[in-house]
Amino acid sequence: MSIYIIDKKIMIKATWSFIQKFSSPPHFYRISGKMQPWFMAIFIGTLIYGLIGGLYLAPTDYQQGDSFRIIYVHVPAAWMSMFIYMVMAFCAAVALIWRIKLADIVLISSAPIGAMFTAIALATGSIWGKPMWGTWWVWDARLTAELILLFLYLGIFALYNAVEDKRTGSRFVSILVLVGVVNIPIIHYSVEWWATLHQGPTVTKFDKPSIHIDMLIPLLVMAISFKCYYITTMFSRARTELLERESNAKWVTKLLVPTKAD
């Protein structure tokens, strides 16, 4: 029994030290730099495969004709807009509870990318809506909730830049992000809760996806591609932010000017 308890303590300690080590700025800076080219390669590879599959190989939709091919940028971008927000919410919780510096940095580095994907989802949705619904925009639940998400992203970025002290700014931002989480299930379920022009879920439901497999595979490949894009770009932004915040730390000197390290 006592051995078991000691084991558990050691386990917790080991896990905690692993988390601390991985989230330490120099470690993250090094590892992310090493991993970045791999994610870039997967991004480009899956992008080419997804584009060929989506634009050329996938059969034409019997209702929407070739206009349905907008799905291969619209849907992955919309998924990313929510996925990135959930990553940010997770980081906000971690930053508030455990005060892990890296969480703040990943959060704020993700915000512009999330805003961009939200803008892409809205714009491509609008371009798709014109030939299919006959209008660029309607104030229905799905579209309005996604627009609110865009404003949330912009608000997060503005708030962070408005506060002089980065640490205080990060705390405000974390709280705003956690409050805004309520919007994510609203976006997801909006097409079921309210009567809307937007079509219902075709992939993310418990039932079998209501989409042909040759259409589905490029969509999932594009989703993987966009996730790798996010990781590549976020790493770059996070590393910039780390350098800025840690510019006085020894590891930065050692890294950038090895001769002046002492």
């Binding site: 091919r69 619209h74 770059s236 910039t240």
Partner: protein
């Protein structure tokens, strides 16, 4: 090929969606890369300058 580009009459909608998405995505990516490079240079310069100032101060103190 021209049939492919024509996209069943939806060419302008399909291609503008793709163009817009990829201009934004690659723009954001290259902006992030170049910001990182720029930041590296700025901090590098800052560290070297600080070290030079420190050395200068030391020399002045020795002269006095």
């Amino acid at each position: 090929m021209s049939e492919f580009l024509h996209m069943g009459g939806y060419a302008s909608f399909v291609w503008s969606s793709y163009a817009l998405s990829f201009i934004l995505m690659f723009g954001m990516m290259f902006l992030s890369f170049s910001q990182h490079k720029k930041k590296q240079k700025i901090i590098q310069g800052r560290i070297i300058r600080a070290a030079q100032q420190k050395a200068e101060k030391k020399r002045e103190e020795e002269n006095e």
